[in-house]
Symmetry: C3
Subunit: 153 residues, 3 copies
């Protein structure tokens, strides 16, 4: 089954592919590697999930934000590559959490994105290397920002 | 027009290529990819721009720091590659801002570097994928630190 | 002399290769590049070094944590590649320090990992490009988290 089909079967709605909020490209392809810019949790209404995990929102809110961030990344991939089946595998995820200084569960937050990718590309190709860490602040106080390196088929 | 010529036309002065402040190389080339270490806003007098954005300096100070950080990266490229024309394109920028916890405009800060790269290599090749995020702290309290992956010609 | 032999001569004991603490792989190899996930300072008793540098621990404690983090990375490499001699060179290190907001010596902390890599693969191949920066928080309040890109032979 194709990744596009799997996404369809999840019954989720992608946001519009996000426009850059600065001087950058959402994705750069070089050779068979695609470098995807840090994405935020863009929703289908065009707004972003905001709030610091541990004070303004909790672990579940953070994980939901990470999944939404993953959906924004999928939107960028579809808009720029045409199909999610162009992706051979997830290579590396940098999951950045807008977290309180004493927050400890960053991996569980970023799992919201990683589980989505696993659902779309499967447990072998959809799961990559990863860091999940706490930032001092994020643009517009968004809850999560995630950048990814994909290998293309 | 060459990138070296464009830099010349900007009328800016590069700092000396920065010496490592630890156990690392300023740049590593593997295949046609150049990985440039996190650089700080090194000035021509050898000092660094310091201060947290949102408390010790403001958005404009941060953006100026990001541009200066870009100039330090250009100095490293010239010293190690001989010419900025060795760069085919900017692939990925990680722009790290020493920001107050409630700061929100990280993309606008890092634009100071990205706009410089656009001036040097043009809007297509000079603009890459990017993340622009807020750190808890940076070495020596520098205002910005930026690392970049370049594709070489 | 081989890297495995050099590690042996150091007389250090590696921890068990760490199991993932979330939905990710410890290492992904694509082409001749190995992307290693963010690792923490896993000790041979299975515990992690914790505490923020500048408040709960000091520079020396941070540097020791970074070295321990490097040992955990070596354990992952050996478990997944069979031998440290599969590594041709260190390409890029992202050294993340759980640091107080006014901490300034991140490079000296991450040197604990970089010096270890230099001992194992030598000063040319063991030392790569690097960023050493301060995070707002890290999973489980670990003192350091480090991710690395290696080129394989």
């Amino acid at each position: 089954m194709s990744a596009d089909q799997r996404l369809n079967d999840l019954g989720v709605e992608l946001p519009e592919a996000p426009a850059p909020a600065g001087v950058y490209k959402p994705i750069v392809v070089t050779g068979n590697m695609a470098y995807v810019s840090g994405h935020g949790p863009l929703k289908t209404d065009g707004s972003m999930t905001t709030g610091r995990v541990g004070t303004e929102t909790d672990l579940e809110g953070g994980k939901e934000s990470a999944r939404q961030t993953g959906l924004a990344i999928l939107a960028t991939l579809k808009a720029n590559l045409g199909s999610l089946d162009r992706v051979k595998r997830v290579v590396k995820v940098l999951g950045m959490v807008n977290a309180a200084p004493d927050f400890k569960d960053h991996p569980q937050v970023i799992n919201g994105c990683s589980e989505l990718f696993g659902e779309v590309w499967g447990p072998e190709n959809g799961i990559g290397a990863r860091s999940a860490v706490g930032m001092g602040s994020l643009p517009g106080n968004i809850t999560t920002e995630i950048e990814v390196i994909f290998e293309l088929a």
